[in-house]
């Protein structure tokens, strides 16, 4: 029994370790081609420019874990970000903390609607969130009312993305905070374990007394709240709010999870995986223009790298599974 547990532990950690090796190799290759990649400034720039994708990835992790999907995330981000921007432009709210709270509430409401439609209405997640994707994006345009929010309208709020605390950008502190919270929650709290339980075997989870639709509701609301946070961060990082912001980014967010070894059919995946997946995507986005690949070929190269990483990841997983079975003599 004890031996079994230690094997299980190695499995869950080693998958991430293999991805870490890939990430290190990728970074090493980029650094050889372009030494400026591995500088402190470049890494901070990279993290700041990809914080939004990375934070959203951890929310998407929760949804993918229960076998769901949410493609409305970029739209709820735009709606909450645009609202936050307009509130600042017209001086309605000036307090940064309050702006975050309002955006989180709007995002959370978007998530709540998704969650209710999916868990109570039993609508397929991809259909429900596709509808929501258009509704929230449309609402963002209505809120914007043919206006953009520019750097000057935002005033001191832009400095949120520039100011530092202990030498590290506020934006990156938010990133660290969200990941720390989710790491603890998914690993050590009952709620987090319930998400895994629902994802790996719905019937068993239901029989053991877990209220499945509440868990579903929880992950969508959580995703919405994160979208609200990210909407505000995006406005601050780019000092601009436009209703079409981060259009189409939901694909990058899902890709980050999949690269990180999160299964699309639920039950498998970890916070560390989502983080590594997000970092791989961030490194690719940062590196492509740096290493001198021709502009029109960049998207192709990006796709190829993602595929290679995923294939490597799948091979590692199979080897781990095989070794695992061998050791248990099955």
């Amino acid at each position: 029994m004890k031996k079994n547990k230690s094997i299980l532990k190695t499995i869950t950690t080693s998958r991430e370790i293999s991805l870490l090796v890939v990430l290190v190799l990728l970074c090493a290759a980029i650094t050889i081609k372009s030494p400026s990649f591995m500088t402190y400034k470049s890494i901070i720039d990279m993290l700041r420019n990809n914080t939004v994708t990375m934070i959203m990835a951890v929310g998407m992790l929760g949804i993918l874990l229960i076998g769901g999907i949410d493609i409305s995330v970029a739209s709820s981000l735009a709606l909450s970000g645009m609202t936050a921007g307009m509130l600042m432009k017209y001086g309605v709210v000036k307090n940064v903390f309050l702006i975050f709270l309002i955006a989180m509430a709007i995002g959370g409401l978007c998530g709540l609607i998704n969650g209710l439609v999916i868990s109570r209405g039993k609508v397929l997640p991809i259909i429900a969130t596709m509808g929501a994707m258009y509704v929230y994006r449309g609402l963002a345009y209505l809120v914007a009312n043919n206006e953009w929010v520019s750097a000057e309208d935002l005033g001191t709020f832009s400095s949120f993305a520039l100011d530092k605390f202990w030498g590290i950008n506020y934006v990156i502190w938010v990133l660290i905070g969200v990941y720390a919270l989710f790491f603890v929650m998914m690993k050590w709290t009952r709620l987090g374990r319930k998400v895994y339980a629902v994802g790996s075997n719905k019937e068993a989870a239901s029989i053991s007394g877990i209220n499945i639709s509440n868990v579903e509701l929880f992950v969508y609301v959580m995703m919405g709240i994160l979208a609200g946070i990210c909407g505000t961060i995006a406005v601050s990082v780019y000092s601009s709010a436009q209703p079409n912001m981060l259009y189409g980014k939901e694909m990058d967010i899902i890709a980050a999870c999949v690269i990180g070894g999160v299964s699309m059919s639920g039950g498998r995946g970890s916070v560390a995986g989502a983080l590594l997946g997000g970092l791989v995507l961030a490194a690719i986005a940062k590196a492509l223009p740096l290493v001198g690949i021709e502009a029109i070929a960049q998207n192709t190269v990006k796709g190829v790298i993602i595929l290679v990483v995923i294939i490597l990841n799948v091979i590692t997983q199979r080897t781990i599974d095989r070794n695992n079975l061998k050791e248990r003599e099955i």
């Binding site: 209505l142 520019s150 750097a151 740096l290 029109i296």
Partner: protein, 355 residues
């Protein structure tokens, strides 16, 4: 089962209330639509109509302002009609109602190049003079088009700006939108054409980067340009999203690299200035007020018979000066507003609130 029904009803109620809550702002806009419409009476005044792209578009409002001013100053009457939506359908019904009102001229900023043809031909058959501005219809559905700037003009102006900011020599780069954007590519080609001049021989175009009009990608591309070319002097971005993202990166980094291009004054105000702490000394765009004014003068020249819209004709457009009708790339004819409008630290404060 009952519980499920209650849940579904709740969902429906929430969605409905959300939509209802946001409907208000839309209704306000439509209210203003009709107020500019004045009856085309028989007071002997010529009646000039302007059909904009849609309601609530700040850029269009400014154009309409310029258009109205010059015509009313000349004793004409103006009808500005905003279609309910930014579609060709909505414009067609507006044009048809203008035909039955018996206006003398219609100036249109087309939402679709071809879809207005039937309605506009009907108007021309009724003796109404048709001109376009800002966004062209096809050559068959107009007498003349008022173009904001020619590609060659944009290319030359931007090259001159790069030459000036770089101090005559050094490396520079372009940050564009997508690699397929027609207007972007036409302007870049025009810049490369202008570059052939010996004057610019000491300027080296290092790279054309594409930020896909996405802030995130444009930021990555700008940062990459900075670390790849340490001697870079100027970045030129002829796209609003690109120039905004690049301005932010350069200013936050306190970079010595300067920026120019085409952008909206309200978006760039924060970054514009001559000091080292500002990233954009000056940039360009067309002046929407003058575009509206030229549209007004063109419509009046058409109505009073001064021009017919044929190539080679010329007319006087008030304070704007004399304009000649030239052949357009689509086979029709056009009037080109002329030099781009320069936005710099001296005028940015009055323009940032305009558009």
């Amino acid at each position: 089962m009952k519980k499920k029904m209650v849940g579904m009803l709740l969902c429906a109620a929430m969605v409905v209330s959300l939509i209802a809550g946001c409907g208000n702002s839309g209704a306000d806009k439509e209210g203003s639509k009709a107020e500019d419409v004045k009856k085309a009476d028989d007071s002997g005044k010529k009646v000039y109509a302007l059909v904009t792209k849609s309601a609530g578009n700040p850029f269009m409002d400014i154009i309409a302002g310029g258009f109205t001013d010059v015509i009313e100053a000349a004793g004409g009457e103006v009808i500005v009609r905003h279609p309910e939506a930014a579609t060709a359908d909505a414009q067609v019904s507006v044009i048809q109602s203008l035909i039955s009102q018996g206006v003398d001229s219609i100036t249109v900023s087309a939402n679709d190049q071809n879809a207005l043809q039937a309605a506009l031909e009907e108007a021309m058959d009724a003796g109404i003079k048709i001109s376009g501005l800002d966004s062209a219809t096809n050559a068959d559905s107009r007498q003349v088009f008022v173009n904001q700037a020619s590609d060659a003009e944009i290319g030359k102006t931007l090259m001159e700006a790069i030459y000036d900011i770089a101090g005559g020599e050094g490396q520079w780069a372009i940050l564009s939108a997508t690699s397929q954007a027609t207007n972007q590519n036409a302007w870049i080609a025009a810049m490369q054409e202008a570059m052939k001049d010996d004057k610019y021989s000491k300027l080296e175009l290092t790279e054309i980067a594409y930020g896909d009009d996405e802030p995130q990608k444009s930021t990555d591309q700008t940062q990459a340009l900075l670390s790849k070319y340490p001697d870079l002097k100027v970045i030129c971005s002829p796209t609003t999203v690109g120039i905004n993202a690049a301005a932010k990166v350069l200013q936050d980094d306190h970079s010595s690299v300067k920026l120019t291009g085409l952008g909206l004054p309200s978006e760039l105000a924060e970054y514009m200035g001559d000091g080292d702490d500002k990233s954009c000394p000056y940039m360009y765009l067309w002046n929407p007020i003058e575009l509206g004014q030229l549209g007004g003068y063109t419509a009046m020249a058409l109505v009073n018979g001064e021009i017919t819209g044929a190539e080679g004709e010329s007319f006087k457009a008030g304070d704007l000066g004399d304009y000649e009708i030239i052949k357009a790339k689509d086979g029709g004819t056009e009037v080109v507003l002329g030099p781009l409008f320069k936005f710099d630290s001296s005028n940015i404060n009055e323009w940032k609130d305009v558009f």
